[in-house]
């Protein structure tokens, strides 16, 4: 018998707030079509959900029915997801304004996608896992193909839909096999049932492997990465930022929680396969990025490589591994939001994603170019940036668990990655060639909200790189236990 108490509702309040905001926004759109009102409504919804986190924290840790759990770990990632959703909404405003057409629903779907991610990081049961993932995915199909006249958007949307639906089927079949064998869908109970013995290991192994396929697709790790470059290129820039951060971050947080519940022994049979996936992701991402001329594709391949780095921290396991994953995810979120934010601000009716679009950017828009440069350096992992600290913690976790080979490969890959990050960076300092200067299209008008979001993210990134102590303390107390 399931009973909900007031305490349960209080603990659920961040999710309730964002769901209520979605419904409210839908009503607003029905009666009053205005992009600005929709934006304010969405921002208010996410801010309200964020403000509910301390209220909910007073009840943590708390299991809410069988499906959801609210603990410090969930609170940490909820905060991260809400901040990212807020930033994407801010960045999208100026971009959508230049796109034209009816834009209000964009914010509605963005809210729903954020709610899906929030459900994912709170889930403690296959049902909530699946529902959160699907709310996120179905919202993303809509967001990717949102600009009505974009042929690339339709292509990206269809590619994502087919592959995401197929991977969801894999995930579900894996869940069904595990349920058939264990008789429970709760993460927390699985370990004890497995320890009880008398389960057929083969079915369990196939089930876990199929879950890995589904999750690996969402994370775009090699060999499940083929969709990523096309979808990153075809989707509107703010949506690409959302896919790179919220979608992947929520799934990774869930992956860590799932295996923390099941126990490290469950990962052991998969260790060689997972290590191979991590290595393949690093090499595929970094080597294929070398040949790209499109900035969004470069960032897509770079994010494939970053998921490989994260898998190293995941494989390291333990509390140091969890700390490294959390810190790396925060650094990855902030840096990617900045990088795609710059692309968003530069994009007008056409996406500013060819590397040539960035020729001489520093001489035309020095602040924007400096911001982009900082993001690229942080993605590469130059000291004094957030990305460096993230890589440092991942390496530390890897070395602590004696994953020497993975650690060495990580360092080698970091060096390869400098080449293509710096290629984009150098392009910004080149002079525009004579005669062609007139051909460079005029830059879109200044978007105040986008610039404000970028400035805040930039502050956050510098702070994380120069003075990471407080964040590490927070992560240690909230995530690593």
């Amino acid at each position: 018998m399931i009973r909900m108490t007031i305490d349960d509702l209080v603990a659920l309040s961040p999710l309730l707030a964002i769901a209520a905001a979605s419904v409210a926004l839908m009503l607003v759109i029905a009666f009053y079509r205005d992009a600005r009102a929709a934006l304010v409504c969405a921002l208010a919804g996410i801010a309200l959900a964020f403000a509910m986190l301390p209220v909910a924290a007073s009840k943590a840790p708390r299991q809410i029915t069988q499906l959801l759990i609210l603990d410090q770990y969930a609170l940490f990632y909820l905060g991260l997801l809400f901040i990212a959703g807020f930033a994407v909404a801010l960045l999208a405003h100026g971009y959508l304004g230049r796109l034209g057409g009816q834009l209000e629903e964009f914010y509605l779907v963005l809210l729903l996608a954020t709610a899906g991610g929030a459900a994912l990081v709170m889930s403690a049961h296959f049902v909530s896992f699946f529902l959160g993932l699907e709310i996120l995915s179905v919202s993303l199909y809509v967001l990717i193909a949102y600009p009505r006249r974009s042929a690339r958007g339709v292509e990206a949307g269809i590619k994502y839909l087919i592959l995401a639906a197929a991977s969801a089927a894999f995930l579900l079949f894996g869940m069904a096999l595990i349920y058939a064998e264990l008789g429970t869908m709760e993460f927390a109970q699985m370990a004890s049932v497995m320890a009880g013995g008398d389960v057929r290991q083969e079915l369990l192994l196939i089930g876990q492997a199929m879950i890995f396929v589904g999750v690996g697709f969402k994370l775009a790790v090699a060999p499940f990465h083929v969709w990523a470059p096309d979808v990153y290129e075809g989707a509107p820039a703010p949506v690409t930022a959302f896919i790179a951060t919220v979608s992947k971050g929520a799934v990774f947080a869930l992956l860590v929680r799932y295996f923390a519940n099941l126990g490290y022994e469950v990962v052991q049979p998969f260790f060689p396969a997972l290590a191979a996936i991590a290595v393949a992701s690093m090499f595929v991402g970094n080597l294929l990025a070398l040949a790209q001329t499109n900035v969004k594709r470069i960032l897509a391949y770079s994010s494939i490589a970053h998921m490989g780095y994260l898998l190293v921290a995941f494989l390291a396991g333990g509390s140091l591994g969890a700390t490294a994953v959390a810190f790396y995810l925060v650094a990855y979120f902030v840096t990617n939001l900045i990088a795609f934010g710059v692309v968003t601000i530069l994009s007008g009716r056409r996406e500013a994603d060819e590397i040539e679009d960035y020729r001489g950017l520093f001489w035309r828009r020095p602040w924007l170019a400096t911001t982009f440069l900082a993001a690229l350096l942080s993605l590469g992992g130059i000291p004094l940036t957030a990305g460096f600290m993230g890589k440092f913690y991942v390496l530390m976790a890897g070395v602590e668990s004696a994953l020497w080979l993975l650690a060495v490969i990580l360092v080698v890959n970091t060096m390869i990655s400098f080449y293509y990050y710096l290629r984009v960076a150098f392009m910004m300092f080149r002079d525009a060639p004579e005669g062609e200067a007139a051909a460079i299209r005029p830059l879109p008008s200044f978007s105040f909200m986008g610039a404000a979001a970028l400035a805040l993210l930039m502050l956050l990134m510098v702070w994380m790189g120069v003075y990471p102590g407080p964040l590490v303390q927070t992560i240690r107390s909230m995530v690593a236990k």
């Binding site: 179905v138 042929a151 339709v154 197929a166 969801a168 349920y179 096309d230 075809g234």
Partner: protein, 103 residues
């Protein structure tokens, strides 16, 4: 009381359907048929959940099937909207036509 079907048979049937759906997704080029093949895959997982629920005499498997059903409906709703956009943009339902991004 009818003799119950062994769990293995149900899972095998579901696995076969799943494989057929997957082959359809990989082989078919018409986008509508790809969506239908995806439905077959999702329904195969539903069957697997019902079978698993029957083994443990729990309602959970059927509840999960209802969730899968509603999620598949949502997915097809968005999918068909995308099919319409594809037809309008490319004047074809061939999935290969919508493959202009390379690199």
């Amino acid at each position: 009381m009818m003799a119950s079907v062994p769990t293995e048979y149900g899972l095998l049937l579901a696995g076969t359907l799943f494989a057929l759906g997957l082959i359809g997704v990989l082989v078919r080029r018409n986008i509508v048929f790809i969506l239908m093949s995806l439905e077959i895959m999702l329904n195969a997982t539903g069957l697997a959940f019902v079978t698993a629920g029957a083994r443990w005499a729990q309602a959970d498997g059927q509840v999960m099937y209802l969730f899968i059903l509603s999620m598949a409906a949502a997915e097809v709703a968005v999918g068909l909207a995308l099919v319409l956009k594809l037809q309008r943009q490319f004047k074809t339902l061939d999935a290969d036509a919508a493959s202009r991004m390379h690199g």
